[in-house]
Symmetry: C2
């Protein structure tokens, strides 16, 4: 007996997935995890050649959506020289009631959206409601998604400072037009206009003026100094997803309140890893899902510094894939196969 | 950028896969493992509801074939009541040089073929060359594949005793015509005729007359008694793939030589688990790949009892999937998608 499956390729997903879909999916994933109706399974990691090619397989189940699934992310550093993408993401979605395979998806664009949504959800629940200035530290592929998702959730933001922490203002200035266009498109696809001003800046000036900071870099040495961070700032860190990575100074955690997407994962491979090991961070205050569910407090004062450590969990991908499958069934987009 | 992938569904695989293809693939997988050119990655297991629904994800890389991959096997015990298969198997194959996804396969029929091939390869390398009588203990879905693969590799076998260890001869007799037809078809698809006589039997009579025994049952209490096993017998056990399963009496291992597909896996979840724990089995003699490679001895005398514990490793599935992808590209069978 064969199973009917839906295939959603890169173009299908670019056409179907929107900022609010990704935000709703990721928020639901965090919430179900908090309610104990979802679980992540052990992550499989393999180094083909250390520093040149590696892979991970993340998997889990989301009871409320009725799906389980997995995502294989393969990174081959030499691919761009061959005209190929360095990262390939491939997801499978299965019916939780029967085990039947339901969908095969190109997880590349999903990863951008769900990571942007994660950083933005951190800001929505932990930043001060009167936040006006946002720093985007990192000007790579994730930057437009993080900016667009945060502006979507926090339309009160008036100014975005785009920063490339390692190449001062030049690099950020050179990609500014492209990033701005992409943010505009992402917002307009979701029925919103870009009202905030996006400008290139240097890291110190930007951070000193900011209410919210989003970091998405592959840094292994922290670039964000504690003395630049104003009281009341929120920081969402999405760059650290592997032991040894660190974007913000450990010192920040001596006074900041730390929140995690997954406590154990953040302490072992996230932004919290090194501060926890060096004693700057004694404990994570809560998982973000508990804050969303209202079972644990988030920010408790306007002067508090909050940090959301988003390492990326399978449930974000499964929830996004489930929303996409639903949208594809409604619109007829994607292709159907018999497996 | 999108990737071209091949989709091979259940019908494609039934049409493309043959006994010799599966045997060659599995033998190559064992050999590459022995040469250190392949590795299996940690297995992900999840119980949805213990005893009612579970899943495992097995993955690994085969350097010589240029692929890595994974297989998700989901078991939902209540499915047959809904007219659905209890087991779903789904495989993904990736290019080892670039990480690009290459194929999606229905792994159900592959699992039957590669498991049949495994038991037969155990017999080829470990049974006495003058073996004439074969017992097939277990009359489920795997029985025709185990019989056909073994007869393909050992055409000197004259008689096959089909046994259902739990329901005496009746049950085996009732499925005998269907099993015989399927064996005939599998052999004829591979250009061979069925020359051996297949008969239903009871377990004690069969084992006492046999040179080779294949076991493929979900037994948790051993049904094969040590006193029935003649000196010089070879036993390939494929049923035990989970802690607590056992098909043959521990006592057998006090005198038998034990071989494994993967030593660590056989000691933790295979037929070797319980005999090792209860002290009947002190050590595994070799992995089958080392016997195939000639780096470790197999059978060393006509009176020796040999046991091959086949727990099933990802490399068997990856090698079979790679052979299928190759055959599909040559024949044009299967469908092509852009992911």
């Amino acid at each position: 007996m064969m199973s009917k499956m839906t295939v959603l390729n890169g173009e299908d997903i670019e056409s179907l997935l929107t900022v609010p879909m990704a935000i709703d999916a990721v928020e639901q994933a965090y919430l179900e995890k908090s309610r104990g109706q979802a679980s992540t399974w052990p992550i499989v990691c393999h180094d083909f050649i250390t520093g040149e090619a590696d892979l991970d397989i993340k998997s889990g189940n989301l009871d409320g959506l009725g799906f389980y699934g997995l995502k294989v992310v393969s990174w081959f550093g030499a691919n761009p020289d061959k005209g190929l993408p360095a990262l390939y993401g491939t997801s499978l979605l299965f019916d939780l009631k029967t085990g039947a395979p339901k969908a095969l998806l190109n997880a590349g664009p999903i990863t951008h959206f769900r990571t942007g949504a994660a950083g933005a959800i951190g800001a929505k629940y932990l930043a001060r409601p009167d936040s006006k200035v946002l720093t985007m530290a990192g000007s790579g592929a994730l930057a437009p998604y993080l900016i667009a998702c945060t502006l979507y959730l926090m339309p009160q933001i008036e100014q975005v400072c785009l920063v490339n922490p390692h190449n001062a203002a030049q690099k950020a200035a050179s990609v500014l037009p492209a990033v701005t266009e992409e943010v505009k498109k992402l917002l307009s696809d979701s029925g919103k206009a870009l009202t905030a001003k996006i400008e290139a800046s240097d890291i110190e000036t930007a951070v000193k003026a900011s209410d919210i900071i989003l970091t998405a870099t592959p840094a292994r040495e922290p670039f964000l100094r504690a003395e630049w961070v104003r009281p009341g700032t929120h920081i969402s860190c999405v760059g650290a997803d592997m032991s040894g990575k660190q974007e913000i100074e450990s010192k920040i955690f001596r006074t900041a309140k730390a929140f995690a997407d997954d406590e154990a994962q953040c302490l072992s491979v996230g932004e919290c890893e090194i501060p926890h090991k060096d004693g700057s961070l004694s404990a994570i205050a809560a998982e973000i899902g508990d804050v969303i569910a209202g079972t644990k407090p988030g920010r408790t004062g306007a002067d508090e510094i909050t940090v959301f450590d988003s390492t990326g969990i399978a449930l974000q991908d499964i929830a996004s894939a489930a929303a996409l499958l639903n949208a594809a069934e409604k619109s007829g987009r994607g292709s159907r196969i018999e497996l």
